[in-house]
Symmetry: C2
Subunit: 486 residues, 2 copies
């Protein structure tokens, strides 16, 4: 019977191999992470998805604070006159901006944009707050909702409204701002590896892919389970592009008035999409223990004669684990079979499963299953809490190892254009090769293959001598990573 249930349950998810995107939507909806709303492209983040987001958010927030930043909150509304102050910025965002024109029955004198990002309103404020070099650096982060009315939306990955953090810093010198840009890129990198078990590539974006208004955009790029890439975070060196139009000046140590140097950096609820696509498998979600809303689920195997005894022991195990600081759930729903529950919690990605039945009790044991690998093992009840703690660490480490291996296996150096196309079509993943650095070649490659320059990886350094552009044959300016991307 358990097998039959299992089949029935697996049938509920679209095939990951046949249609990764149908599988993705199925996971999001059936694991109750999020749901569609009646507002175009806006999603509802359900309690299980939101608790996951809270854990992700809090883990990153601790790292943002540990590097000396504090949170603040700026208004949702941006006056039209602010948005238009930085030319590239307004060009980039204006087409996707919702405008508030009326309040109640009254027309507003100046239209208000719903923030797509907050550089403009924050810079207008910084101009008032900053007078002296003693006021620098300003290291502020904001957790907020932002809105971008994009044409094609996808749950978590690209939604009309999304939740994110946006750091906005001001510095005395160019060097200090560049250092901050890279420091926060590394914060994202380490956070992704250590909390989400996703090993991203750190790199520089091409001119065409950089943030509207930035001097340089750096990114963390991760590889998803279908071999497509996803930009999971960005860190921008803004130079003085905003400081000048907004007049953010300070009196320096030498009594000369100067413009500040700025950075901004952000990650969003897209991270939840990254988790699903990078870690999921045919059975559904796989969550790294550090951010899993439920780390351990206890499934009692109930028969009438032993029901009370089994539920009592399952309750004791839950209490013990809870006291040890484990996020644990006892699934005592009596209208579902154990088989249904196994697959339901598997779909939801819970890292560890504890089964307790009457035969286990006789032997003073429970069965321990892990989500990252198949199989289960008996564990003596008195050793369970210690073993669970170890297992959560093992799973966290193993998921990172698996993801590193996957990335290594799916990063291919190519030397010819044919090879490029062949790998992109059949193997997919990251393709590493020479690029002449021109927007023309970049556009040509995109047009012919839908692959884009994901980044110029920082770890690669200068291109090897003699490297040629994969498409134009011209001397390569960079060694770049290409991929099809979300």
């Amino acid at each position: 019977m358990a097998k039959g249930k299992k089949k029935a349950f697996e049938g509920a998810l679209a095939s990951r191999a046949e249609s990764f995107s149908d599988w993705y939507v199925d996971v999001v909806r059936k694991a109750e992470l999020a749901d569609y709303s009646d507002i175009r492209g806006c999603m509802i983040i359900r309690p299980y998805g939101y608790t996951l987001w809270e854990n992700v958010r809090d883990a990153l927030d601790r790292r943002i604070k540990a590097t000396g930043h504090l949170n603040a909150y700026f208004p949702l509304f941006i006056p039209e006159s602010y948005l238009t102050k930085e030319a590239e910025h307004v060009e980039g965002f204006a087409p996707e901006v919702p405008w508030v024109t009326h309040v109640g029955e009254e027309k507003l004198e100046e239209r208000l944009a719903i923030r797509p990002t907050s550089e403009t309103i924050i810079c207008a404020t910084y101009a008032k707050w900053i007078q002296s070099y003693r006021d620098l650096p300003v290291l502020i982060n904001q957790w907020a909702n932002v809105v971008r009315w994009e044409k094609r939306t996808r749950l978590f990955l690209r939604t009309t409204e999304f939740l994110w953090q946006e750091g906005h810093t001001c510095h005395r010198t160019r060097e200090e701002a560049v250092e901050e840009t890279l420091k926060m890129l590394r914060v994202y990198h380490d956070f992704l590896r250590e909390e989400l078990a996703i090993p991203p590539v750190m790199g520089l974006k091409s001119e065409s892919e950089k943030f509207a208004g930035a001097v340089d955009t750096y990114c963390v790029e991760a590889l998803m389970g279908d071999g497509w890439a996803l930009q999971v975070g960005t860190s921008h060196f803004l130079g003085q592009n905003f400081a000048k139009p907004f007049g953010i000046k300070f009196l320096d140590k030498d009594n000369v008035e100067r413009y500040v140097w700025q950075t901004s950096w952000g990650v969003s609820t897209r991270l939840i999409g990254a988790l699903i696509m990078a870690q999921g498998d045919d059975a559904g979600l796989r969550l790294p223990p550090r951010v899993a809303p439920i780390q351990v689920v206890i499934i009692p195997i109930i028969f009438d004669a032993t029901k009370e005894q089994v539920l009592a022991e399952a309750g004791r195990v839950r209490d013990t684990l809870e006291k040890a600081g484990v996020r644990v759930r006892l699934d005592d729903r009596d209208w579902h079979s154990p088989g249904f529950k196994f697959h339901d919690w598997e779909l939801r990605g819970v890292p560890v499963r504890v089964e307790i039945g009457p035969r286990d009790l006789e032997k003073g044991q429970a069965m321990l299953g892990r989500r990252d690998e198949r199989g289960k093992q008996p564990v003596a009840l008195e050793k369970l809490p210690g073993r669970v703690a170890e297992l959560l660490d093992e799973i966290q480490a193993n998921m990172l190892r698996q993801a590193e291996q996957y990335r290594a296996d799916n990063t291919t150096d190519v030397a010819t254009w044919d090879e490029f196309k062949e790998v992109l079509e059949n193997k997919k993943g990251f393709i590493r090769c020479g690029w002449d650095g021109t927007a023309e070649t970049e556009a040509l490659i995109k047009e012919e293959t839908k692959a884009t320059v994901r980044c110029i990886p920082l770890e690669d350094g200068d291109p090897p001598p003699g490297l040629k552009d994969i498409r134009s044959g011209q001397p390569a300016k960079h060694q770049a990573l290409f991929a099809r991307a979300y």
Copy 2:
């Protein structure tokens, strides 16, 4: 010199006795809690104010979760057709709602409101999620920004955009929903007392003051330092007022389809305003240790000859306190005098001040000052961490005691209309008296005195036999609390 500095510093705050509202704005701005923005009635919450809000939010969030609720997130936008489904609700909120009419250059087919509260969009979603009694109760909370375009705004107390939490629950029975309404009221009450050291009155709102769409609105009402009242939280029993127009039905145990019973409840960044006005004094803010962003500030007394030694010891004290889990700041700014720093941190309400100077070092001690009461005492350095921990608890308890005493001293039972007016004019505070329960009397009293029915206190129970309405002389239906209110 210290004295001169002090004078200069105190002069910076408007007199609390002469103009409480000027004093309030001064505290908000000079303690760098918040600042005005260029958008009408929208404020910027600065890092010190936002960290305070994070502590307040997290303390309440733990209590909301401990009572079985989970957080979720619903869209910012509410389609016009949703908002108009519940007649009283739309009437209450429509005049203050900002409308999004365009995105980029394109006009939307249906206008979208920026949420003033989320009952309508959440109910539309619940109608899809809930089918069976097994899906109940639904216990969801949301932390979000909402917008209400009110005519008169005031930092933290009434801002166009504000941050809040809104709980939205569905239940099988009326009894269960009423119980939830009162449970969350008590959660607010206990949270206010135990975390913010504010002892509120729990009560029922009059018909004229209840939430647009509720059957009953309960509130926690607190007394501010100027004798005015502030509604700091509300908990609504919604009955089936939303369930019916939104069609939130479930198949009950007996196979009959029924509408759910609902509640909603919320508190907002107004709590920060409550903290300032209930706890502040002539020198500025006074923060309860549990939510203070900085619990202990260390001020080194610097002379050239002993600077290194003093700073080293101050650093050691900071590290020790930090390790003990205390939120501590060492103020080593070398461009401010100790006197300036004392008053700066006093203004910001830091509960404990540690002074370390060369003479203290000779004696192996530091001076310990507390914000809730004047004076300072020497403490041996090795006893400092233990003493600080005790002191933080003492201050938390003392602030609650002080606030309870203040509320008791400023709650007056009156028996005649003349006495009512006299107390309201001169003593202020809560006035307890009989009310006939009619909207006419309520309106008359408000018109004549600007005092409103704050609530019918739950703890008072039925009115004493023979009690008369203070204004109409008719038999009192309730014993009510009146006050002028923000």
